[in-house]
């Protein structure tokens, strides 16, 4: 894995076979290497129509692409998934272009889809031209040069120490990456256990005759959101347990609403078992 990454690091400079950049694809894409994804292939095909990109026939382009992919899929050779997804989409587009428009506000019409594809192609081509123009400029250190022996007037800066954003991000990323290779240690965490909740509920229940919010039963030492959450769920669990034993009743008026609990009265023990299974235990 490390070797692979190192190789790709170099590739960034050496204008690599673009499809290979995605690990895993390299073995599959035999006929399509040299193309940087379906959009790149489409752009190359579109150029073969030898007209302004604004005037290409999207229908014809879809045909060309589908024919190309059909040939690329010789027996035993697989074509990368994204090329097939594009093929499926273009087949759909073709049908939309050839059939009358559906009267449906929610579905884009064939021409709209075609316009979007044409837009994407023109935008990609525009960016490629822009990139070529950019790299063809007179560049510092290649075409134009600064003074070779500066004598040292520098812009006075407020800070004496220098560090770039890149260094900062790199340092943090390196640090995270180093952590990962360390032995895995699972931090012990203090949580409120069911046993403790059960015990506490048993103890405090006698003092509370009426309906009380579940939170009132929480122990006073609850601190921190994680601990709090564990205490709430342990308390609910203990409450349900005791409801099953017929010792408490639970009630919740609405979803995510507050949960209430009270001691079960002894006289109505038989009837209350059903009640306890009602809203609270659901």
């Amino acid at each position: 894995m490390d070797t692979l990454n190192a190789d790709r690091g170099d590739d960034v400079w050496s204008d690599p076979d673009p499809v290979r950049e995605e690990p895993g694809d390299a073995a599959l894409v035999v006929d399509l290497d040299g193309y940087e994804g379906p959009l790149d292939l489409l752009l190359v095909l579109a150029r073969s129509q030898k007209v302004d990109l604004a005037r290409i026939s999207i229908l014809q382009l879809a045909e060309q692409y589908l024919a190309f992919i059909a040939r690329a899929r010789r027996p035993g050779i697989e074509v990368a998934a994204d090329y097939l997804v594009m093929a499926a989409w273009l087949a759909y587009l073709k049908s939309r272009l050839l059939l009358p428009d559906v009267e449906d506000e929610d579905v884009s019409t064939g021409p709209e889809l075609a316009a979007h594809l044409s837009f994407q192609l023109r935008r990609l081509e525009a960016m490629r031209e822009a990139a070529a123009r950019l790299m063809g400029r007179d560049r510092l250190g290649r075409d134009v040069f600064p003074r070779g022996q500066p004598e040292g007037v520098r812009v006075v800066r407020d800070t004496v120490y220098e560090a770039s954003v890149f260094e900062l991000l790199r340092a943090y990323a390196d640090h995270r990456a180093r952590r990962v290779s360390e032995p895995l240690g699972i931090a012990a965490r203090e949580l409120y256990s069911m046993e403790r909740a059960h015990e506490r509920l048993r103890r405090v229940l006698g003092d509370l005759p009426g309906w009380e919010r579940l939170e009132t039963f929480l122990p006073p030492e609850v601190k921190g959101a994680v601990f709090y959450r564990s205490a709430v769920s342990a308390m609910l669990g203990a409450g349900l347990e005791m409801a099953k034993e017929g010792r408490v009743e639970l009630r919740q008026a609405r979803t995510f609403g507050p949960i209430y609990m009270r001691r079960k009265r002894r006289e109505s023990r038989a009837a209350a078992t059903d009640e306890a299974r009602g809203p609270g235990a659901g």
Partner: protein, 213 residues
Amino acid sequence: MSVDPRHLRMVEALLFAAAEPLDESSLAARLPEDVDVPAALDALREAYSGRGVHLVRVAGKWALRTAPDLKFLLREETRETRRLSRAAVETLAIIAYHQPVTRAEIEEVRGVGASRGTLDLLLEIGWIRPKGRRRTPGRPVTYGTTDEFLAHFGFDAIDELPGLDELGASGLLQPRPPSAMIEEARARAARESEDGDGPPGGAEISEFPRPVE
């Protein structure tokens, strides 16, 4: 209005000695108070035009640079700079023209996932930097170009990017096609479905076009 020649040679000396481009306030801070810095810079730029060294403005600052037409003399003495991959060059152009732009938007324009290491490389060269966050779900980081980018490619400001206005006017820097483009496509589709009972069939593609290397 003519500039005092003594002031001119002071500005000249400072710019020659400087290791990096100087802005007007840094120049003014080092010069006697009575020096009209903008006027002196203008006069100096004039004096150097046509010479082997030019006074240029990069990223809002002033610097002396060898004349571009003399690159044939100077190129050989530099090590062959390593060539950036097509992916890196395109990514740089997209960031320059669409900034601030998120990684997902770059991928959308290129039609492929950004390979790991491309942004990393551009960050390391110092041509791009994180600019902020997009106010959309997930608040993704946006990227833009740096002053070093401007200095390297010899721009005074980012709006000097070649073709920027035309691209902006054509709607190609927008995330969606402009409505004019959709109308056009609609008209063409109408024409095509009229005269084409037989779509032009894929058979004529005898030679597969190869991508430009």
